[in-house]
Amino acid sequence: MTCERIEELLSAYLEGGLSPAEKELVQGHLAVCPDCASLLALLEKTEKALAGFPELEVSPGLRARLAAIPERKKKFSFSFDFVLKPSLQPVFAAGAVFMTLLSFYLFNPDKRNIDRAIDQKIHSGYSQVEKLYAKAGSFTDRLGDTAENVFVSVKNWKIFGGNEDNPDKI
């Protein structure tokens, strides 16, 4: 077996992770290969050195900074949280439609004609409203007259003491 193949097995050999056959193979090679035997010794030293690295404590300053992160995040996200509420989606949709129409109007090359058309629409709408208002006025007048006539006719019925034949004689 080559040294390269043995090197691949050295960690597992140290950790006892080889099958008996592989273990025997490695031991046989180590007995005749001083380079691999030396490498194994160095590997043991390396692992021991790595395992001996001390665990450091977190400084109070860092601990305080880490503890402050959630509060900082809360403050930062406050102004944006409401934007993500699903209930506001129709408002954003309406806003988007409005902005689209507005940009269509503002950047249209035929803006003057659109202005004129809007003006005409507003004026015709206004005059229609005026007409409607006038009609409504005459309608209320007529309604008042009719109500008065009905009242007089009812008063002239005999059962109420009136004279049906001569309504002027009560």
Binding site: L10, S11, A12, L42, T46, P54, S59, L66, A67, I69
Partner: protein
């Protein structure tokens, strides 16, 4: 509280990977910022520690690729040690101490993925399965990567012991 439970683990991982105390503090802060942003995406069926360490690993390696710390020197090994020196016990000999220094310096020579695998397995004492989960790699790949990293460190140790100290 997340800070009490995980800050030491994340900080030590960052320190062992970057080799600089100041850099490790900044990196830990960045990792916790990411953690708080990503908490809503955490899948409760997953192992939280592995999930956090995967996030930490990704951040450390990404930052390494952007800044290339290997150009910078690692902190002197003794610089931060006195505070926890008692943990190593009285049997800690001078030769072992020297080996530790050389291996600490040698960590910067490893590729970031290999360095991370070796740190998780040999310094943080994770099982191969845990390392595979954190790195998101098959078990066989993790084992061979860790073996390769250890062999590289062993050769660096040999070179430096033979007087090849820079």
């Amino acid at each position: 509280m997340l800070v009490n439970a995980y800050s030491k683990r994340v900080f030590n991982l960052a320190y062992q990977f970057a080799g600089s105390y100041q850099e490790a503090e900044d990196l830990t802060q960045d990792i916790f910022l990411k953690l708080y942003s990503a908490l809503s995406k955490y899948d409760f069926e997953k192992n939280f520690t592995a999930w956090l360490l995967t996030m930490a690993k990704n951040h450390l390696i990404d930052t390494y690729r952007k800044t290339k710390w290997e150009k910078a020197h690692r902190d002197e090994f003794d610089e931060q040690v006195p505070a926890t020196g008692a943990d190593r016990g009285p049997e800690s000999g001078l030769a072992e101490e020297a080996d530790r220094k050389l291996v600490w310096e040698g960590l910067n020579s490893l590729a970031p993925e290999t360095r991370m695998a070796v740190i998780l397995r040999d310094i943080q004492d994770k099982s191969y399965e845990e390392v595979a989960e954190i790195l998101g790699l098959p078990l066989g790949t993790v084992k061979s990567r860790i073996n390769r990293g250890r062999l590289q460190l062993a050769r660096i140790l040999k070179e430096k012991q033979q007087g090849g100290l820079p």
